[in-house]
Symmetry: C2
Subunit: 255 residues, 2 copies
């Protein structure tokens, strides 16, 4: 495709705030939060109506380069077409140099935000609040998503012995960060309310080393088995909840 014609099509698409795609051989230079240079190669550039730009190779979901909220310009430079995306604060610049453009498409689309109905973590949280006895008999909710200076605890409850119980819920495998996070909340609650406090990490799985650390800190782990429903209109369902007995003995012994 002729370079002059290509830049014309692109410029037109940009002005109409269409979603514009450009397929061609290009090199890419980025300087901003990081710096990167991509040698010439076949790629698909995607420019959206809100000024988002991304460069795609033929694998993986994430683009090799991208920038949001940019001011765009396209110019011819000799045989090349150069697309420049700029942004201030922080200062960033993305330069895409096309030495050959094979295709340009301009798709008319509203610049709306897709309303995505989704369910998962929040649902699980609600489900659990409905019946904390699943975790342990006698457990009563005190507060949900309580804000502390050191983060947000998922669920605060009170056990049958009158201890506070901080519950941290993870949708995926828990790791070191999850454990230390729970530990922070637990300590915080303990200090604030000045009452004996336990911490329970609730997740479908936990990394083995993270589990060791959890035990060392006197925290507990409970495996959460849940099933998502095909339609988000149906709530998720908690299939089972298995307590690791080993963790129970640690309560009260640790620091």
């Amino acid at each position: 495709m002729d370079s002059g014609r290509a830049t014309g099509l692109i410029r037109d698409g940009l002005s109409k705030r269409h979603l514009v795609t450009v397929f061609g051989e290009c090199s890419v230079d980025y300087l901003g939060r990081a710096t990167s240079n991509l040698p010439f190669g076949k790629r698909l550039a995607m420019i959206k109506g809100d000024g988002s730009v991304s460069i795609h190779q033929n694998r993986l979901v994430r683009p090799t380069n991208y920038m949001v909220n940019t001011r765009l310009s396209i110019e011819e430079s000799g045989e090349n077409a150069v697309l420049v995306a700029k942004k201030l604060n922080p200062r960033e610049q993305l330069t895409i140099t096309f030495r050959k453009i094979m295709d340009v498409k301009s798709y008319p689309m509203e610049i709306t935000n897709d309303l995505r109905l989704s369910g998962s973590e929040r649902d699980l949280n609600d489900l659990l609040m409905d019946d904390l006895s699943m975790i342990e008999p006698g457990l009563k909710p005190v507060n949900q998503q309580e804000h502390f200076s050191k983060g947000i605890a998922d669920i605060i409850a009170e056990d049958s012995a009158g201890n506070f119980v901080v519950i941290e819920l993870k949708r995926r495998q828990a790791d070191y960060a999850s454990v230390t996070q729970l530990h922070r909340y637990m300590r915080q609650v303990e200090k604030l309310k000045n009452r004996k406090t336990r911490g329970i990490l609730l997740a479908p799985d936990i990394r083995s080393n993270a589990k060791k650390l959890l035990h060392e800190l006197g925290l507990e782990f409970a495996r959460l088995d849940f099933e998502l429903k095909p339609s988000s209109l149906q709530k998720a369902e908690i299939k089972g909840l298995e307590r690791k007995q080993t963790t129970l003995g640690h309560f009260g012994t640790g620091k």
Copy 2:
């Protein structure tokens, strides 16, 4: 565009492992790590040669829905064309139902990984190893990227007093996770080598609460100021390194 012709084009593109884009009115249902439903609307679907699928609206870089590593199939169902992406372990399914297809493109591209040259934490690490005295006079390198059972320490050094110093380097603002990470390594080294050990967190910035925690744990913070170069072939340059004096007093006093 006629639905039969569209599905034919898509099927052909998929079989050739091209990068295929489909512009049309579709609804999207996802079931897997979460569940979500997207009502009918104009969108651009992008399918890559490695089985990655993403659905784009005309704003933001991130797709509204996506899946990697899928097995794809496209079928006609009445007036609709239905693209199904499946994956096992964990089981996920993405269903895109097109009630109208306006355009299909099939771009021939290799499924290669673009070599992106960039300045990263690794570079900074190397720069620092060249001259640890930037951090503190008399500091001598012992090891880099040393593996422990609880993770990998960025840099291990020895100070002029013969203490071990564990250094954790962050390219961006340090947070809770950075602090607890450093703390784990520091304790680990202390235990393993049975020698007094310090921990220094080196980053351009640190969140205020994370800094409090750092102080409580008897760790130190040093501000790292660096500049990225336009070309990634030029190494980044460390502009300065400022020690927070307040942290120094904490060493030796803490637990």
